[in-house]
């Protein structure tokens, strides 16, 4: 298994600034997007992403290649941190927490319609069960391979496919009212 980040991690472990910057450049946006998708809260997603990078840096000096790709490991850590936060939310519901939808400030009617459509899809995604949402976030939006997504989610490829199929079936049903024949 070739990990394109293995050499970067070695250099990052020695505190090499260019390697640290490159790891952030390659992974930060994706990790934040997965966090936003899972949590529906940009601020919480940023907190999770910072925690993920803190763990990356702690691992850098002793990173062992051949066990998991850095990207896969980061996805796993991200999902686990999101799961912890979602569990805490269920235990202690926050009335202010929830999906942050697109800002409807734009004036054009078509813009508003597009935002409305987007908000409905966002809402349908947010209502998916957590594992299905994670599968869609990784495989659909981030285009992670099925093997790597399954590895990150610690399930078999068959189980991942099942999660994806159920998610898409649910989304089609929920959005069918919006678009006719989804």
């Amino acid at each position: 298994m070739h990990d394109p980040d293995a050499e970067l991690m070695r250099r990052a472990g020695a505190g090499e600034t260019s390697a640290l910057n490159e790891i952030v450049r390659r992974h930060a946006e994706r990790i934040v997007r997965v966090g936003r998708r899972m949590l529906g809260d940009p601020a919480e997603a940023e907190d999770v992403a910072q925690e993920v990078f803190l763990r990356v840096w702690k691992q850098a000096a002793t990173w062992r290649t051949g066990e998991a790709k850095l990207a896969t490991w980061m996805h796993r850590v991200t999902l686990n941190l999101c799961t912890d936060r979602l569990r805490r939310r269920r235990e202690m519901p926050d009335p202010n927490a929830g999906l942050t939808l697109a800002d409807p400030a734009a004036g054009a009617e078509e813009g508003l319609r597009a935002q409305d459509r987007s908000a409905r899809v966002h809402a349908a995604l947010a209502q998916l069960p957590e594992r299905q949402r994670a599968a869609i976030a990784l495989c659909y939006f981030e285009e992670v391979s099925n093997i790597e997504a399954a590895d990150a989610m610690e399930v078999s490829v068959e189980a991942l496919e099942s999660l994806l199929s159920r998610a898409r079936r649910t989304l089609r049903a929920r959005l069918s009212d919006e678009a006719g024949n989804l």
């Binding site: 990052a12 505190g15 597009a114 989304l171 989804l182």
Partner: protein, 124 residues
């Protein structure tokens, strides 16, 4: 690749071949050319298009990048700097020792002179 497997693939991964499992992609692309394949793809494309409405394209802030990097390992000093620092310490230590010894010698000479003066009665 038969119709049943192609249907499963499209149901899970959608209509874009780039998302299909690498090991099955070529066979699935061949099946996609068939009428049955085209029908299944058309259905999946509708949902794919809807999902694109929810694509998150918001960039992350420079401040967040800074925070991510704030906890990163600090640069290690190159080995030659450690050796140079050690050598500088050694030189300083030797200098301190030599200087101290010279001062001790001066003190001992002064003590001897005082003792001699005391012996000869020049000081009381």
């Amino acid at each position: 690749m038969d119709a049943a497997r192609f249907e499963e693939l499209v149901a899970a991964y959608g209509a874009a071949p780039r998302r299909w499992p690498e090991a099955e992609r070529a066979a699935a692309e061949a099946f996609a050319e068939t009428d049955a394949g085209q029908r299944m793809l058309a259905e999946a494309r509708t949902l794919d298009a809807a999902l694109e409405e929810a694509r998150d394209a918001a960039p992350i802030s420079l401040d967040l990048r800074r925070k991510m990097l704030a906890s990163a390992p600090k640069p290690q000093a190159p080995p030659w700097r450690a050796v140079a620092a050690l050598a500088a310490c050694a030189v300083f230590g030797v200098a301190l020792g030599v200087g101290g010894a010279q001062r001790m010698g001066d003190i001992r000479a002064a003590d001897a002179a005082l003792a001699l003066m005391a012996d000869t009665g020049e000081i009381y």
